[in-house]
Amino acid sequence: MVPQFARGHRLREDKARGRWVILAPERVFEPDDIATEVLLLVDGVRTFDEIVDALAAKFAAPRDAIAADVTVMLADLRERQVLAG
């Protein structure tokens, strides 16, 4: 599975406010720090497994726990139509 942003949605650094945001039709979502780390890896190329591997390496955390968290987060963003597929 290759997660990707739905058309019309993208992650951008909001330098003026010192945060990252998801820009969407008529809306702005503010992902928290953890969600931002995940979404920075969502590029339409990396698979779900590759994203989890990258996070596990970066944060030296158990892979299973990360996989579970990322699954929930991506499902939520898919339901909100931020992510496609």
């Binding site: 058309r7 019309g8 993208r10 951008r12 003026a16 945001v21 820009l23 039709p25 702005v28 139509q81």
Partner: protein, 366 residues
Amino acid sequence: MTPPPPIGLLAELTHRCPLRCPYCSNPLALAAADGELTTADWARVFRQAAELGVLQLHLSGGEPAARRDLVELVSHAAGAGLYTNLITSGMMLDAGRLAALAEAGLDHVQLSVQDSEPGSADRIAGFPGGHARKLAFAGLVTQAGLPFTLNAVVHRQNLDHLGEIVALALQLGAKRLEVAHVQYYGWALLNRDHLLPTRDQLDRATVMVEQARSEHRGVLSIDYVVPDYYATEPKACMGGWGRQVMVVNPTGKVLPCHAAESLPGMVFESVLDRDLASIWTSSEAFEMYRGTGWMRGPCQGCVNAERDWGGCRCQAFALTGDATATDPACRLSRDHSLLDVAVQRAAAPAGDFIYRERARVKTSVL
């Protein structure tokens, strides 16, 4: 204290438009084409907006596609890093130009319809054949893979068709439907007696929206809020004066809201004279109703003062003649009963729509 930067910029690229909707949000005195900002002016405004902290750019009008340089403008906006939303009637864009817009970095399209079926829609828009062209345009938008929102301005003459409007949004492949009640200043105030819905209509519409929302969850999201004339609490107009959004009109004036020119005695500065950041932070117009310092009773000290920011200044002025009054949409306003009076008066309208057109003599309505 420096105010936080705006999230959104509404760029009214032009007041030119083929449609003549009687509730048009443009001012009664429409700007002429020869007074419009140049391509280079807009490119500079977009760069300044992005530097200031604006994230989303709404390209509006009039009909923004009446600008021959629209593709170039989108390209400048995307280059500045702005999220670009095209607010269009869909009347002046063919497949080729739409593809060029997508290529230039356009993120989203908001297409307006005036009703669910052509006879009524064309009459309201004052343009025979317009509705069919809009439907064809919606097809082009989905073919181009661009996400789009269908926008329907609703009022007495089309509110009973809300179910059909929802069906139309689904049929056209819109991801969002924005159902916007007419707001009564400018052109809409001239036509208020023809446009104000009845309480019964409104109640049926509210039930209808709730049903449609649950029925189409995850497929179509519906934006809908109760209109002011039947509200008991005012809305934070534009998210509060000078808090979230700034508007640049076709000639370069910078406004806290698109109707602000209806307020008397205001001076709006131009992007031709000053940069956006200094206009946002320190111009008299933005300072005038920002925050709560300007408020009087019952707004001052109200627990909701920093939630609704006193409601809409333009509506307060249009109804009471006093731009510093509490928005009459608030049940605590001493002028709240004016809304009931307007609703009663609208029950027996005389004449027909006054359609939007250039250089109309200003008409008294109150």
